[in-house]
């Protein structure tokens, strides 16, 4: 574990150095500078090649795998995979509900986890269907945001896709702090736990095939579109269902 942590630390240090080297110089022209700031993507020179790499992997591995999964398995099976992997994530969501001071949302998460685990080992979502307790997601990136940590630059992670400095740190923290992962380690079923993670990834990719195909076809700049969608979606998730502040849409003359 110590060795793992040390190599992780070295990896993180190397990552930070690469980030610093990959920074684009902000443009001098004030008009271009404003657009540069609005995109919040100083690492774009590094992010774009990573995105191309992700697209390559997606086209050749992930999407074919997800398509096959979608075609071969029955809908009820896919449903059960989504519900089961989602249920495994509930303890972590519960912790983040509490860390954000969202007591009633924490109550919903706890009630969902207990109900679904007891009635179907998590393969069904009776809590939603019978009790009207809807699922919501939380993660460390959202908790950091609620605590006032700013977003940081946009980052395109290899394989995992769009992120930000804040969300990337959150991802690392959740990897270490997820009580279900820790429990699986102790019970010596880490491999099985990892398998559920892989299943979750394939299931999620399968559900997005139509959306990403449409976006890739209709967008003018697929990378920029995904970046904007990611940032808007995170912003919505952080607000926990509350309406955002009114936004000004000023039309240039």
């Amino acid at each position: 574990m110590l060795l793992q942590n040390r190599s992780f630390g070295a990896g993180l240090l190397a990552g930070v150095l690469v980030l610093a080297a990959a920074c684009a110089t902000p443009p001098q022209d004030p008009i271009a500078r404003e657009a540069f700031d609005e995109a919040n993507d100083p690492l774009e020179p590094m992010n774009r090649p990573i995105f191309d790499f992700n697209l390559f992997v997606d086209r050749n591995v992930l999407k074919p795998l997800a398509s096959a999964y979608k075609d071969v398995t029955p809908d009820a099976f896919q449903d059960a995979v989504q519900k089961f992997t989602r249920n495994l994530g509930q303890p972590l969501v519960f912790i983040h509900d509490l860390l954000q001071g969202e007591i009633s949302r924490a109550g919903v998460t706890l009630a969902r986890f207990v109900t679904n685990t007891v009635t179907s080992a998590g393969f069904q979502d009776l809590a939603d269907e019978a009790l009207g307790l809807e699922h919501h997601s939380e993660d460390a990136g959202q908790t950091l945001a609620v605590w006032g940590v700013s977003e940081g630059p946009f980052i395109m992670l290899p394989i995992f896709g769009p992120s930000s400095l804040r969300d990337m740190l959150g991802r690392v923290a959740d990897g270490f702090g997820n009580p279900v992962r820790i429990g699986a380690d102790i019970a010596d079923i880490s491999l099985q736990y990892t398998a559920t993670g892989v299943a979750e990834g394939i299931d999620q990719r399968a559900r997005l095939i139509e959306v990403t195909d449409d976006l890739e076809k209709s967008s003018l700049d697929y990378y920029a579109a995904l970046r904007s969608l990611y940032r808007q979606d995170r912003d919505k998730e952080i607000r926990n269902g509350k309406a955002g502040p009114p936004t000004t849409l000023r039309i240039p003359d």
């Binding site: 022209d29 920029a224 579109a225 904007s228 979606d233 309406a243 009114p246 849409l249 039309i251 240039p252």
Partner: protein, 215 residues
């Protein structure tokens, strides 16, 4: 003579009252008969007409796209949307570039959304209410329900009242993700990568529009 003074006074008073009410009418103030359509009723009317266009199974694809284009031009302030999406680069563009950009942008929007609506398969919508946005705009909330079940999709229509009193949609947000903001960042990115000149953007838009015509 006192009677005629009273008569003149009354006439003056009546004339003044008449002028005042005419002025109020011309200013478009609160006369119920002239009240503009509420943003909510406006969105309701547009949405039901869009569904009528695409639910009609007998019309050809071209005819539907044409009808849809007319509906978009009537319901959306496409010029403002195009300008907002180009943002700060609008002012640095030449009038010729601006003109071509507006034309291509409008064609692209019509093609994209006609293509999406062409997949219409019996979805219905519910108006959930409206709330004020910044700049005096009204955001009308709807839910799109698909006939196959599943959770409804939240779609918000941002309506801006025009100087002529008509309503126009200037943004559509699906699950709180603004199409306007997304498109703006795509366009800014293309202009930026073209070194701040919008010629590169025009090349991309021309190719996009030509591609849609082949299909």
């Amino acid at each position: 003579m006192p009677a005629s003074i009273a008569t003149i006074a009354r006439r003056l008073y009546l004339a003044a009252a008449l002028l005042a009410s005419m002025a109020a009418l011309l200013a478009g103030g609160g006369s119920p008969a002239l009240a503009a359509e509420t943003p909510q009723a406006f969105v309701d009317r547009l949405a039901s007409r869009a569904i009528q266009v695409f639910a009609a199974s007998d019309a050809s694809k071209e005819a539907k796209t044409k009808q849809f284009a007319d509906l978009l031009a009537e319901g959306f302030d496409l010029t403002s949307i195009a300008k907002f999406c180009l943002g700060r680069f609008w002012r640095s563009a030449t009038p010729a570039q601006q003109g071509e950009y507006l034309k291509l942008f409008e064609e692209m929007i019509v093609n994209t959304y006609a293509g999406r609506f062409a997949q219409y398969s019996g979805e219905t919508y519910r108006i959930k209410g409206s709330r004020p946005e910044a700049d005096g705009d009204i955001s009308v909330s709807t839910e799109i329900v698909s006939p196959g079940g599943g959770s409804p999709i939240k779609v918000d229509w941002r309506v801006r009242s025009q100087p002529d009193g008509n309503n126009r949609i200037i943004d559509v947000a699906v699950e709180e993700i603004s199409m306007l903001i997304t498109l703006r960042s795509e366009i800014a990115s293309i202009v930026q990568r073209g070194g701040g000149n919008i010629d590169g953007l025009l090349v991309v838009l021309r190719a996009r529009v030509a591609q849609a015509q082949i299909r």
